[in-house]
Structure formats: C-alpha cells, structure tokens
C-alpha cells in the first residue's frame, strides 16, 4: 500500500513537472507532448505513425515541436479519400509504376483486368 502511494506521489510529481516544462519549452518529450495534447502516450505514438503527426525519434527518445503540433491540429494532413485524391497524378512520371502493377498481377496469376487488357 505504502509502495503504491509512493508510486502515485512520484507519478503526480512527474506529471506536475511535465506540465511545468510543457509551458516553458518549445521542444517536448513524449510524456510532455502527451500532457500537452491531453492524450495517452500510446495514442500519441499511434497518431505519429497513422496520421502523420509531426514528431521525431532521436536515438531512443521522441521529440515534438510544440508549434508543429499546433499546426497539425489546425490543418490535419489529408486522410482516407482526401489522401487518395492527393495521390492522383502525383506519380504521372514514375517510370516504375507499370512494371510494379504488371509484376503484381503476374504473381496473382491473372491479367490486370477481366478482359485481359
């Protein structure tokens, strides 16, 4: 019980430190960024990988620019259909695309379209 209380106190103190440093720093650590955005750390990391939230891993440590997080919140990157439409024509000059799709359907063992064209 005493151990648990000590851990709770330590966490509270750490959170309070995080809250203070969030106010003062432009560059945030993972716990600080989570406090700043009021979300769990694992949710924040998921947003980095799945929703292109700006953050960088330097060695074993994550760093987040506070102003970049604000920009991301204001103007989230396109997702779903918007992200697909952003791709439209972006690979027009890609010399590898035809071969990629041809190889994919060769591996599937069938032509690209039902009429074989």
């Amino acid at each position: 019980m005493a151990v648990s209380k000590t851990k709770r106190d330590a966490r509270k103190s750490s959170n309070s430190r995080s809250a203070q440093s969030v106010d003062n720093c432009e560059v945030l650590t993972l716990p600080e960024a989570a406090v700043y955005l009021r979300i769990a750390e694992n949710e924040l990391l998921r947003s980095v990988t799945e929703q292109r939230m700006p953050g960088r891993k330097i060695g074993q440590e994550w760093r987040f620019l506070k102003s970049a997080l604000q920009d991301w919140l204001r103007n989230p990157p396109p997702s779903g259909k918007d992200a697909l439409l952003a791709m439209a024509g972006a690979f027009k000059n890609d010399p590898f695309l035809d071969e990629i799709v041809r190889d994919a359907y060769q591996k599937r063992g069938r032509p690209m379209t039902e009429n074989g064209k």
Partner: protein, 136 residues
C-alpha cells in the same frame, strides 16, 4: 465502402481522369492490405533491380514518395472473420486456380462487415477497364 484494387490505384496515381473522378464522387474509399503489400514489394524490387546508381537513387526516391502518400490512406485490415473466410475459400477446390492475393481480397465479400465490398471493388475495376475503351 469502396475498395480500390492495385491496378485501379496505380491508374489513379498516374492521373487517370475517370478513375480520379470516380474516387472524388465516392463517399468512402479504401485499399486492402494486399494492395499496400504489392505496391511496396514492387518498390523494393525496383531498388534491388536497379541497373546503376542513378536508377537506384530514383527508385529509392519513388519508394519514399509512395510511402509518404500511403500513410494517410485507409487500409482495410484482416479481422478474425476475414481470416476464417480466407480459410474457407482456400479449402474450396473450385477456387484452386485463384491466386492467394485475390483470395485475400475476396474474403472482404463475406464476413459481418462485408457490405458487398467486392462488388464495389469490381465497380472500380470496371472503371479501370474504361482506360482501354471497354466498360463503364
């Protein structure tokens, strides 16, 4: 939900006007994990097959660009129902000639959240065929 198969996605990527318009008009559009795998496998192969340093760098650049664009896409994952459907399809002897990738995509037709996705996929494929002056 509308699913784009790999050929239709690549048409969109190359700027095919009709496919782009169909995507624009659709409510919700996604790709399957199979398409993501096929595109990235192709990108890796382009790097490994590069004939010289210049081509190597170009292939790498297109891989990076592709990865960046794909991050925002909705990718339909496999769930338990889809995995069970995949097992069922694999046991069907009549489907022996159908490739593994197509079976993995076809499993979206069944399952509790199927919503006739495969039919939607077929609709987009039909749209893709219009490139060569065929359907639609």
């Amino acid at each position: 939900m509308n699913l784009l198969d790999t050929d239709t996605l690549t048409l969109l990527m190359s700027g095919h006007a009709r496919v782009t318009e169909r995507v624009r008009q659709a409510d919700r559009v996604a790709i399957t994990l199979v398409t993501r795998i096929e595109i990235l496998q192709g990108r890796f192969a382009s790097i490994l097959k590069a004939a010289d340093g210049r081509q190597l760098l170009r292939a790498q650049q297109w891989l990076q660009q592709n990865e960046q664009y794909m991050r925002g896409l909705e990718i339909v994952p496999f769930d338990v129902a889809a995995a069970a459907e995949f097992d069922k399809l694999r046991q069907n002897k009549k489907l022996k000639k159908i490739g593994r990738a197509d079976l993995l995509i076809a499993k979206h037709r069944a399952g509790p959240r199927g919503n006739n996705r495969h039919a939607q996929l077929a609709a987009f494929s039909a749209s893709a065929q219009a490139t060569s002056g065929g359907l639609d």
